[in-house]
Every structure is written in structure tokens, then in C-alpha cells.
């Protein structure tokens, strides 16, 4: 979506995120890389949004900015009443700690900690967490709670990562290519877990992917290319993860 006046947007409730004119420029040695070139968007509570784009389209950068991991070069991002672009390091840390759940393409589990302990890592510092084992049961890993990452398959590791992300009951779940390192079968199991969190907990969920098949399960699909929003599609009838295929 490019503006609040866009008629295809029918907000179910107030915007959780609103971004205006986000630009991000990296310096890589001697070259300037324009990752984002002016992004406007709003994200709403309970939505399942897919950010679709090829590699280099700027989607990871956008996700990092929404998640408070990075700040834009220009533009303004608001999360509820907080201005993320004006936040300092400590405020961003608190924002991540209390509001955001992250899922990474390569899971980023701590290899020296078991599944439960990886989840505890997050619940220990959040305000109203779930029980770590409960979180693992939510992703159907109730029987793997004491396994170390090296004893889990890729799909299982990613589900631990999802449990870890949702155990703090975040306001937003940000998933960066959650199935990028997985085969289709495992990928679908992981997407089912994300879908369930979105459905049962009503968490605003943003999934970025270059896999257009996944877009079918979203409420809204935002296509990115060359650092700009290329288009926004509203799925009138979204399908469940189980029915996906690629």
C-alpha cells in the first residue's frame, strides 16, 4: 500500500506500524547501496502480511527497521505511539524485548542451549511470557524440549525459533525467509506453526520471502523491488499453509 487513501485497504483496526518515506543507504566500502528508496506503509493488528521480493529488493532491510534492529537513513517509522526513528539504543532494545518476535532464515539458535533453554533465553527477560514448554507445544515440539539444536532437524530448529519468538507474546512476529533453508515439506510444517500463532494469538505477522507461493496464505501481499513497493495485493480468500505447494 502506498497511501492511507488507497481504497483497497480496509483496515480491520488501528495501524500498529506506520512508515513514511523510509530510505536506507548503506556504504559498502566505496559504493553507496540504496536498499530502500522511500517506503510508505501501514501494518495492522492481527494481519498476516507477506513481503515478497527477489533478493536485493530491500525486504530484509525493511524487516530489520520494523524490528528495531536498524534505523532508516531518512523517513519515519511509528510503532503504536512510539517513534522508532527517534528512539535511542536503549529504547530500541526495550522495544525489541517487549514487542517484537524474530524468526531468522538460519534459525540463529544458541547451539549450546537446549530447545527449552533457547526459549527461556527470551522468556527470562520479557514481561508476560508463556511457559517455554507451552511455547514449544504450540509448535508441536512438546517431545523435543530437552534436545540441543544439533540433535534437531532444520524444520524442528526453525520451529524452536518460532516458539522462542512467540513465547514473549509479542505484538508483532517478524519472520525473515523462515523456510529459506528448508525443503517444501518441512517448510510447510514451519508455516503451519506461524499460521497457528497468527490465528490463535492474533499476533501481527510479517513474513518475508522470495517464494511467491507462500503469498497465498497472507491477508495482504506487499511486493518489493529495487527498494520500492511495487504493488499491494489483498487476498480475498487466503489458503492454509497445508494447501501450499511450490
Amino acid at each position: 500500500m502506498t497511501s492511507g487513501a488507497n481504497p483497497i485497504v480496509a483496515p480491520p483496526q488501528a495501524a500498529v506500524f506506520s512508515a513514511r518515506g523510509i530510505t536506507k543507504v548503506y556504504r559498502m566500502g566505496e559504493v553507496e547501496v540504496w536498499a530502500l528508496r522511500g517506503i510508505d506503509l501501514e501494518l495492522y493488528g492481527g494481519e498476516f502480511v507477506v513481503l515478497l521480493g527477489p533478493s536485493g529488493s530491500g525486504k530484509s532491510t525493511l524487516l530489520n527497521i520494523l524490528g528495531g534492529l536498524d534505523v532508516p537513513t531518512e523517513g519515519n517509522v511509528r510503532f503504536l505511539e512510539h517513534d522508532l526513528t527517534a528512539a535511542n539504543e536503549r529504547e530500541l532494545t526495550n522495544y525489541r524485548r517487549n514487542h517484537v518476535g524474530f524468526v531468522f532464515q538460519f534459525y540463529n539458535l544458541i547451539p549450546s542451549l537446549t530447545a527449552t533453554e533457547n526459549v527461556s533465553l527470551v522468556t527470562e527477560i520479557s514481561q508476560r511470557p508463556m511457559d517455554p514448554v507451552e511455547a514449544l507445544k504450540l509448535v508441536n515440539l512438546g517431545d523435543r524440549v530437552n534436545h540441543f539444536p544439533s540433535q534437531l532437524s532444520g524444520g524442528e530448529q526453525q520451529r524452536v525459533a518460532i516458539a522462542r519468538a512467540v513465547a514473549k507474546r509479542p505484538d508483532v512476529l517478524l519472520c525473515d525467509e523462515p523456510t529459506g533453508a528448508l525443503d517444501i515439506k518441512t517448510g510447510i510444517v514451519v508455516l503451519e506453526a506461524i499460521e497457528r500463532v497468527n490465528r490463535e494469538m492474533g499476533t501481527l505477522t510479517v513474513v518475508i520471502t522470495h517464494n511467491s507461493a507462500i503469498a497465498a496464505m497472507a491477508d495482504r501481499v506487499i511486493s518489493l523491488g529495487d527498494g520500492r513497493i511495487q504493488g499491494v495485493r489483498h487476498n480475498t480468500s487466503k489458503i492454509s499453509a497445508k494447501e501450499l505447494s511450490w
Binding site: S60, T61, N64, G67, L69, D70, E89, R90, T93, N94, Y95, R96, R97, N98, V100, F102, F104, F106, N108, L109, I110, P111, S112, L113, E117, N118, S120, L121, V122, E124, I125, S126, R164, K168, D176
Partner: protein, 789 residues
């Protein structure tokens, strides 16, 4: 409940246990040395203070020829003097049962009816002498122990030319003889030199000292002006052959102990700093690698809302745990090492009781110092981890920035194989790390050399002193100087192959306000048995006029060749004469002055007199000659060179061995710590690269070459640097910690020491290499390639 982050910490630590242990060992070594040296320092200082206090150790010491006891009252009247003790002190020759060699006894008079007012003895065994028991003496504990003598045993002494039987009432120790060494010597010889305490009346009558004294010691009042007291005492004693009083600081035993304490102080700080510097470097390398491999974990932690401080603290905790374990092991082993050191010290320094003091302050300082070193070493990495922007940490680190090495840029690449290029580029890419590794290994070689060079030096001193200077087999000292004719009597004795006369005259040399008491040794110009050598060990021909001084004595007196010098003779007519310095000559021990025998005789205004002779002896007749000489009434002392060398070596060998073993161990710990960690880090950084090479068809040997070649280059570069550093350290050790008026050691580091240092380092390197090679052999190719770096 342990937090998940702390669990990660412990498991990470467990995972890197081998490297952590290597670092713990280096830290522990540093802390152990610190604790051991400062504990020993505290123990010696407190034991000495308590001992001095309890036994009333004097503060001013003076000797004279023969002064009336009435002078004591005038000495006591000197402002600032609190207690005066006058004594008779004399050397006697001893016949110890079961020993053919000569021994010398230092006889000190003590009151029969009460304990001495100053320098009281501590009775270890037996009892104090009885008031009316002629021939009863106390003997030094170490002398009795060396000869397995017990209270009640007898020994024979030649006192002032007369044979006497002495009964040992007990064994004793004295604050005056914590370090028991005969005047003019620098190493104790328990068997051949002992201190004895004898009843005042008996000793005085034996030496014709009734109503007189030849030794005075003082205790000063609080706040007394010591130099002023000494000046007045000197004035009072001068007419009676006083040769200048000495403050406690120059008292032989005290001086040696004090010297030892300042060595401990310097080494106790310098050695740990080296160890802790190395530990800081190792922690820096290990931690920065740990943080590099955990980039994504750090990113995740921050994404979940862990603050920069929390992430930094997490890694700092890892360092603190290693530092704490190292500190604890160090304190424990330091406390143990201190007991070893105490044992070593008790060989040389005799206390009634060596108090074992482990001051809490020393522990705090040692652990604090090590923690500070570790934290400062780790701080850069910890800050980097804390500062790592989370979005950046999500991306894998950029490939290292490599370029052709200096060698290659010079156009020499044709001669360098591809693996060798990899080694060189790797080294050149991280020059700071390579240099610090080299520094660490070099330090370990230097520690070894510094620990070992002393053996070389001692061997050199023995060689020069006993085989080039003292080429005689035996030396005979007469009671009184006699005419040169006496030489023929000695030369005619069976077994004497050659005899050369010598004359030793006790004098005070004076230039302006500077003065020193020395003995001038007169030797014939053509002397072949006992010679004076220059720094290049060439024999010096003594000039027909003037005096030759050791370089140190020249320095002390502030004179150079050609300068005038006043000589006050301390015997006979006590002449005061003028002479000039012919030249200065280097030597190792004491402050020596030499003159041509005839020139000395003229200076003393005496005929061709001699005070003894150096002999070359037929080995078959050695023992019988020795017995005959000892029985001769005019002979005061006979000393045999063999026994001197043996005792010299015996005293040193055992203790040097302990020190050397400890040093080699420490040197090995550092070398192993540096090399093992550096190889493990290299393996961790390059596992992928090496696995790829294996997949491409390289053998295990070939990839080991690439990895371990780097360590080999570091080691080979470090070795010569380390040995040179060791030389410099040894030189500083000689110059600043040993050199004094009593001893000057030349810097001698033998090829053997350098080679041994190299062997210790190479063996440590090999062990580190083998353990990494085993890891390399187990490299799981598929796993390594699959895992995302």
C-alpha cells in the same frame, strides 16, 4: 536458578576447555610466581624483624686491633648510643672428626653468666654455656648439622697456635649470622666455616685480650644520628686500630639478606607481568574468535531485546571465570611454591623459625592484578561484541581482506609454493596477532634463558676463579708475616712442587672523603700460580710501582689510572702512605687491590716479608703435606682448592636445579599456551577452507602443513628474538640485581642454554601441534562444509 544465558556461558566454556585451560595455566603461573615471591618476601621480612627484635641485633658494627674495656664507657657516652657490647672475635682453625679438610671457626665471646646484651644467640639444641665449664662453646646450627654433631660432642681447635679441646654445649643461631659466610667469601660453606660462641674470659685469655676487646657493636637510641655516632666511634677507636665502623646496612649477613629481598621484590613483579601480559593477549585472541563465531548468536540475543551491556557482560563473565580459576589455582600453587622457596631460602638463611606469612593483601593484589590483566586483554573484544549492530551481525562477516605478501610483491613468488603463500598471507593479514604471538613465545624463551644463565655464569666464574686465577693447589697462611726465607722451608717440604710467596696487608684506602677497608695482595711480578687477570683473561704483569685495583673498587673510590691514593695500614706500625693507581682490572668477587710484592714490602716499610704461600703439590703426597702444614706452629690456615670448588658447586647445584626446573616448566607453559591457542584459533577460523582443500584432494599432511606451518614460522621467528631478550634480561639481572661491591658476574649465556631454551620451546610447539593435528585428522568434511560460517 541459572539463567539460560549463564548456561550458554558454562557450556561455551566447557566447549573451549582446552584453550581455557591453557590460559588458566598461564594466569596461574603468573599469580603463583607473584604469590610465592611476595609471600616469601613477607615471610623473610617479618621473620627477620621478629628475630632482630627478639635477639637484640645491633645497629652499628666496628672492629679494632685491641682496645681497653674502659673505652666502652666512653663509647656509651656518645650521644645517641643506647647499648654497647664489646667482644673478642677471632678466627681459629678447626679439626673436625671425620673431615680431612680444614675448617675455620669464627669465635665470638659471650658473657658466661648471662646472655649477651646485643646479638643474643637463639639456642636450638642443648643449652647456653655454663659459667665455669672451660672449653664449652656454642656452635652454629648449620655447622653442627653439616657435621652431624650433637651437644656434648667434642672438636679440636687451634686457638692462637695452641691446640684446645672444645665441648659443644648446644647449637645456636644468631641474627648476626642469618647468612653464614666467611669474610671475603660470598657463598656459605657449612662444612668448612662455622660460628662459635665461647665464654668471654676464656676466649680473651686465649688471645691475650684480657681487659680488652677487638669488636664492638652498638644499639642506638631512637632518632639517633647514625653517621654522627659512627664518626665519633671511629675517632675513639682509631688509636686502637679501629678501621671504620659499619652501619647495619653494610653488615655482611644483613646485606646479603637485604639484597635477596630486593631481588624478590623485582622478580616478584617482573615475572608475573610477563605471564599476565601473555594471558591478556591469549584471552584477546580467544575471545575475539569466540565472538566472531557467535556473530549470529549475538544478533539473535540483541533481536530478542538483550541490551549491549548484557551482551558485553556475558562475554566479560567468560573472561572473569577464566581469570578467577587461574587466580585460584595460582594462589594455591603460589602458596605451595612459597613453601618450596622457603625451603630453598632456609638452606642459605638461618632463622630460628621462618614465619610463613600469606598476607591477604598479597592474595588480593595477585588476583586483582591477574583479573585486571585479563579484563584489559579482553576489553577490546567485549566492546566489539557489545557494539556489534544487530542488523550487521545478521549478515555473515565479510571475507578477510587478503593481498599478496611483501615477499610476493618483491617478485619472489616464483620460489614460494601455493601452501607457503597461504601461510605467509595469513600471517601478513593479521600482523598484530602474529607479532604478539611471536612476543609471547619469545618471552617464554627469554624466561628460560634468564632462569638458566646463572648456571653458565657460575661455571664461568668457577673456571676463571679456580683454574685461571687460583692455579695453586693449596694456599698456606702464616700467623705473622715472616721473612722470605720461610718460603724455602715450605718449598723444601715433601710434596711441594712449586711455591710462590704472597703478602696480604689489611689497609684502609682513602681518596678525599671516600674510604674502603680492603686487603692489598702482594704477588711477585712473575707469579705463575696465583695471577691477576684482565677482562680478556690475560695475565697482568704487576707494575714495579703503584697499586692495581679491581674496576669496581676504582669505581667505589672514584679513581682511575694515575690517580693518587692514601693507604692507611691496619697492622704493624699502622703507617699512612701515598701511592698511585697503576691501572684497573676486572674481577668478580669483592673489592681487590694488588701490588707487586716488592712494591708492597716497600710501601709497608718492611723487608722481603710474606704472609703466606701458594703451592703446587704432588697429588700423591697431598694429604701428608696437609697434615704436616697444619701441625706447623707458624701456620694459621691451609686451604685446598679442590675442597673450595667442591663446596662451591655443592652449595649451588641443588638449588639451581630446583629454580631451573621451575623456570623451564613456566617457560613451557607460556610457549604451549601461546602456540596451542594460536593453532586452535587458526583451525577454527580455517576449518572450512582446510576441509575444502581436503575435498579438492589434499592429504591430511598437506593441510596440516598449511595450518601448522604458520605456527612453525611464528616459533622460528620468536626463538632468536627470545634468546636475545633472554640475554638482555640476564644482563639486567646481573647489572641491577647482583652487581655490588661483593659480587660482579659477567654475562655468560652458553650455547647450551640457548639450545635448551630452543628445545623447551620446540617441544612445547610440537605438543601443541600434535594436539591440533589430531583435531585436524578428525575434521568432518561434510559437516564443516555444510555448516554456515
Amino acid at each position: 536458578m541459572i539463567s539460560a544465558l549463564d548456561k550458554k556461558l558454562f557450556r561455551d566454556l566447557l566447549h573451549m576447555r582446552a584453550q581455557a585451560l591453557a590460559i588458566v595455566a598461564v594466569i596461574a603461573a603468573g599469580v603463583a610466581v607473584f604469590i610465592a615471591e611476595f609471600t616469601t618476601l613477607a615471610s623473610l621480612t617479618e621473620s627477620r624483624a621478629a628475630y632482630y627484635e627478639r635477639q637484640r641485633f645491633a645497629e652499628v658494627f666496628a672492629v679494632c686491633k685491641r682496645a681497653p674495656k674502659s673505652l666502652a664507657a666512653r663509647i656509651e657516652a656518645i650521644p645517641g648510643v643506647n647499648v654497647v657490647q664489646v667482644r673478642t672475635v677471632a678466627e681459629v682453625s678447626l679439626d673436625v672428626p671425620g673431615m680431612d679438610d680444614p675448617a675455620v671457626g669464627q669465635m665470638i665471646s659471650v658473657p658466661e653468666d648471662r646472655r649477651p646484651a646485643l646479638n643474643d644467640v637463639h639456642i636450638r639444641d642443648g643449652r647456653y654455656i655454663a659459667p665455669d665449664a672451660p672449653g664449652e662453646v656454642l656452635a652454629g646450627e648449620e655447622f653442627m648439622a653439616a657435621h652431624k654433631l650433637k651437644p656434648g660432642d667434642n672438636i679440636a681447635a687451634t686457638i692462637n697456635g695452641r691446640k684446645r679441646k672444645l665441648t659443644l654445649a648446644g647449637s645456636a643461631l644468631s641474627p648476626e649470622y642469618i647468612y653464614v659466610v666467611r669474610a671475603g667469601e660470598f657463598l656459605p660453606d657449612k662444612k668448612r666455616f662455622g660460628v662459635f660462641w665461647m665464654g668471654e674470659r676464656e676466649l680473651a685469655s686465649a688471645f691475650n685480650m684480657e681487659g680488652a676487646f677487638n669488636d664492638v657493636t652498638l644499639k642506638l637510641a631512637h632518632g639517633a644520628n647514625e653517621p654522627a655516632v659512627i664518626a665519633q666511634l671511629d675517632a675513639l677507636l682509631k688509636p686502637y686500630g679501629g678501621i671504620g665502623a659499619q652501619p647495619r646496612a653494610k653488615q655482611t649477613s644483613h646485606w646479603y639478606l637485604e639484597n635477596e629481598l630486593s631481588q624478590l621484590r623485582a622478580l616478584g613483579l617482573a615475572m608475573p607481568l610477563v605471564f599476565l601480559g601473555v594471558a591478556a593477549f591469549l584471552l584477546n585472541v580467544v575471545l575475539s574468535r569466540q565472538i566472531a563465531t557467535q556473530r549470529e548468536q549475538i544478533a539473535a540475543l540483541k533481536a530478542f531485546g538483550y541490551s549491549n551491556v548484557a551482551v558485553g557482560a556475558h562475554y566479560l563473565k567468560l573472561v572473569l571465570i577464566i581469570a578467577t580459576i587461574g587466580g585460584a589455582v595460582g594462589v594455591a600453587s603460589g602458596a605451595y611454591l612459597a613453601t618450596l622457596l622457603a625451603q630453598l631460602y632456609s638452606e642459605y638463611y638461618h632463622f630460628p623459625k621462618l614465619l610463613y606469612v600469606l598476607p591477604p593483601g598479597v592474595i588480593v593484589a595477585g588476583v586483582g592484578l591477574s583479573t585486571m590483566a585479563c579484563v584489559s586483554g579482553a576489553m577490546i573484544s567485549v566492546r566489539a561484541a557489545a557494539k556489534l549492530p544487530p542488523a550487521e551481525a545478521m549478515r555473515p562477516a565479510a571475507p578477510g581482506n587478503f593481498r599478496p605478501t611483501f615477499v610476493e610483491r618483491m617478485g619472489l613468488q616464483r620460489w614460494i609454493s601455493q601452501p607457503a603463500r597461504m601461510i605467509l598471507r595469513q600471517l601478513e593479514r593479521r600482523p598484530a596477532r602474529a607479532m604478539l604471538s611471536v612476543a609471547g613465545i619469545a618471552m617464554s624463551a627469554a624466561i628460560f634463558v634468564i632462569g638458566f644463565f646463572f648456571v653458565d655464569t657460575i661455571e664461568y666464574v668457577i673456571d676463571v676463579q679456580f683454574f685461571r686465577v687460583q692455579r695453586e693447589d693449596m694456599s698456606v697462611t702464616l700467623f705473622q708475616p715472616r721473612q722470605r726465607g720461610a718460603l724455602h722451608e715450605i718449598a723444601r717440604m715433601p710434596g711441594v712442587l712449586a711455591a710462590e710467596p704472597f703478602r696480604v696487608a689489611p689497609v684502609t684506602l682513602r681518596v678525599g672523603h671516600r674510604s674502603r677497608q680492603v686487603g692489598i695482595t702482594g704477588l711477585t711480578a712473575d707469579a705463575a700460580l696465583h695471577r691477576v687477570l684482565d677482562a680478556q683473561l690475560r695475565p697482568i704483569v704487576l707494575p714495579p710501582d703503584g697499586i692495581v685495583l679491581s674496576t669496581k673498587l676504582g669505581e667505589v673510590m672514584g679513581v682511575a689510572a694515575g690517580d693518587a691514593l692514601t693507604v692507611e695500614v691496619s697492622e704493624g706500625a699502622r703507617l699512612t702512605r701515598q701511592t698511585s693507581v697503576a691501572f684497573l682490572s676486572d674481577d668478580f668477587l669483592g673489592l681487590s687491590a694488588y701490588m707487586e710484592l716488592g712494591a708492597l714490602n716497600r710501601l709497608l716499610r718492611e723487608g722481603d716479608s710474606m704472609s703466606g704461600a701458594y703451592l703446587r703439590v704432588d697429588p700423591r703426597l697431598r694429604d701428608s703435606l696437609y697434615s704436616r702444614l697444619k701441625a706447623a706452629p707458624s701456620v694459621a690456615a691451609v686451604s685446598m682448592k679442590d675442597t673450595a670448588i667442591t663446596s662451591f658447586r655443592e652449595t649451588l647445584a641443588q638449588n639451581m636445579m630446583t629454580i631451573t626446573l621451575i623456570n623451564s616448566f613456566f617457560a613451557g607453559v607460556i610457549a604451549f599456551g601461546v602456540l596451542f591457542n594460536s593453532a586452535r584459533i587458526a583451525l577454527s577460523e580455517r576449518a572450512r577452507e582446510l576441509a575444502s582443500l581436503r575435498v579438492l584432494g589434499m592429504t591430511r599432511g598437506e593441510i596440516s602443513y598449511i595450518l601448522l606451518g604458520e605456527q612453525a614460522v611464528l616459533t622460528l621467528v620468536a626463538l632468536p628474538i627470545g634468546i636475545v631478550l633472554g640475554w638482555m634480561g640476564a644482563w639486567a639481572f646481573c647489572k641491577y640485581l647482583i652487581e655490588s661491591e661483593l659480587i660482579r658476574f659477567p654475562l655468560i649465556v652458553s650455547e647450551r642454554t640457548s639450545a635448551l631454551a630452543a628445545v623447551v620451546i620446540l617441544v612445547s610447539a610440537a605438543i601443541a601441534g600434535i594436539s591440533v593435528r589430531r583435531k585436524l585428522n578428525r575434521l568432518d568434511l561434510v559437516e564443516v562444509l555444510k555448516a554456515r560460517e
